[in-house]
């Protein structure tokens, strides 16, 4: 294939390509429908794969910026030094090769929901019959004074996994024994409600093991948090005196930072000068949801509870963290569950079948130490007033469980990770 094509033969090739396109149509049945999925995280990748799995006669194109995906689940284990980032990095090869999803590494910059076309940064335009928007979260860079993308290089958020995860890990490795680490946590809603407290636990585990004179300060924008009793009991037992939690009512909310000086300033002016600061800023739906006019005043996307079709646009479905789906948490588990329900909804709609009764479940695993896991679970349905947790279902791990129970939940956490990442990208 080293022949250099002349201008003339390139023209012939282009003509032949057009003919080739026609003949390909003649040998393969035309697609029943064309689906475009924006975003290849837990929600988007699952939707793309499951549509193809359920009905290979539907064409699916997945638009994703990154060549591989680094998961937020288990990124806290990377930050805590328990495993390498390669163990939480997933390629899109199986989606394209095994499932026949057309994966395009580009960025969606506009959606015309009337003409049903998605415009990509690289110049391509993709027309769709059904669109799935799975943009995850973006940060509200103006919410904490002085905290912007540049400041995040010094005070990492590490709330989208990847380079930021490594930055925070390196800062912890470089920390001198006795240094103070701060973790700033936003008010609800944000991605992964128990995530900051798992992170605090695994940073504490690292400090206790390697830098025992150090301390961890959690500066919180709220007064209570997910699995709070279980976390605090475990901290008292495993990391006594190491973690200090400062809630909103005790001036825990951070409103201003000085990145160069590593100073975090609270609502009422308390200045915390620390050695390492992990600032998790307030969040909103990913940018494309805003550009496409899918969000409401809250910055998140309202959806129909049964179908997850965006309230603002027909034939546009939204899954994962970007949606307003209370009481469901913004978790990878729920995003994956959204993806399967939306895939079934789209496949049945394309095949002229009716809408099935949706059902979702969630289990959020958190590691407090390598052999100490806890969970919160829930089963969700559509009730008279919209999404609801099935009464009597779900809840957190028992308060009085023994070490064996905690170790088993830690083991299940790792096995869950294998299953869900294979279910999503495998």
């Amino acid at each position: 294939m080293t022949t250099r094509l002349s201008r003339r033969s390139f023209g012939l090739l282009a003509g032949a390509a057009a003919l080739g396109g026609l003949s390909a149509c003649a040998t393969r049945p035309p697609a029943k429908a064309r689906v475009v999925v924006i975003g290849g995280g837990f929600g988007g990748a699952t939707t793309a794969k499951y549509i193809r799995r359920l009905d290979p006669a539907i064409d699916v194109t997945l638009v994703e910026r990154s060549k591989s995906f680094v998961t937020c689940p288990f990124s806290n284990a990377v930050i805590g030094g328990l495993q390498d980032i390669s163990t939480i990095t997933h390629s899109y090869d199986a989606l394209s090769e095994r499932w026949g999803v057309d994966v395009i590494h580009d960025e969606a910059i506009a959606i015309d929901t009337v003409k049903k076309v998605v415009a990509l940064k690289g110049g391509r335009q993709l027309s769709y019959d059904k669109l799935v928007v799975a943009p995850g979260i973006d940060f509200k860079w103006d919410a904490i004074e002085g905290y912007d993308e540049k400041a995040a290089e010094i005070l990492p958020h590490a709330w989208k996994a990847g380079a930021q995860t490594i930055t925070l890990r390196r800062q912890l490795e470089a920390l001198e024994d006795g240094g103070v680490v701060a973790l700033s946590v936003p008010a609800n809603p944000y991605r992964c409600p128990p995530g900051p407290y798992e992170r605090a636990s695994l940073i504490a585990h690292y400090l206790k093991t390697k830098k025992p004179k150090s301390k961890l300060l959690i500066l919180d924008g709220k007064d209570s948090f997910s699995k709070q009793g279980l976390f605090q009991d475990a901290w008292a037992k495993l990391y006594p005196g190491l973690i200090e939690w400062v809630p909103l009512s005790k001036d825990g909310k951070i409103t201003k930072v000085d990145a160069a000086a590593r100073v975090l300033e609270s609502e009422f002016g308390t200045k915390h000068k620390v050695a390492v600061a992990n600032v998790i800023p307030p969040q909103q739906a990913g940018a494309i949801a805003h550009v496409a006019g899918l969000v409401d005043k809250s910055g998140w996307v309202p959806v129909d509870a049964k179908t997850f079709e965006a309230k603002q646009a027909k034939d546009v479905y939204v899954v994962g963290d970007a949606t307003i789906a209370n009481p469901q948490p913004k978790s990878g588990f729920i995003a994956n569950a959204h993806g399967k329900v939306v895939a079934a909804t789209i496949v049945n709609a394309v095949n002229g079948k009716g809408q099935l009764e949706p059902s979702w479940a969630n289990t959020c695993y958190s590691l407090i130490a390598p052999d100490y896991g806890i969970t919160v679970a829930g089963v969700y349905r559509v009730g008279d007033k919209g999404l609801e947790e099935v009464p009597g279902s779900g809840g957190v791990s028992p308060k009085d469980a023994d070490a064996q129970f905690r170790a088993l939940e830690a083991r299940y956490a790792r096995d869950w990770y294998k299953s869900i990442t294979t279910d999503t990208w495998g």
Partner: protein
């Protein structure tokens, strides 16, 4: 003319989508209910590490276990909390989805 066509033919081979390796039937109520189970038990219920497989076990045995998790007769970490979210009829659909008839 020949060479460009040759290039084109190879190009088509390289980009032709592979047929999906496994296709299920169109979604039904059981498969929708079963969606979240796959997140721990694997896409087709074949289990992972310490998480047990569901596939290849009799549906009647799965149903008995699900009901025992729900009542608390069978101890569990998270299955009891999850099973409480489903009616008898829904548990039957789940058992039928994963289990052998």
């Amino acid at each position: 003319m020949k060479r460009p066509f040759f290039i084109l033919a190879l190009g088509l081979l390289a980009t032709a989508p592979h047929p999906a390796s496994a296709t299920d039937q169109l979604p039904n109520q059981g498969s929708v209910l079963a969606g979240p189970c796959a997140s721990c038990h694997g896409s087709d219920g074949s289990g992972a590490g310490a998480i047990p497989a569901l596939k290849g076990r009799p549906a009647s045995v799965l149903l008995d276990q699900l009901k025992a998790f729900r009542s608390g007769a069978l101890p569990s970490t998270v299955m009891g909390r999850l099973a409480k979210g489903y009616s008898d009829d829904q548990l039957s659909q789940l058992a039928a989805h994963f289990g052998d008839k």
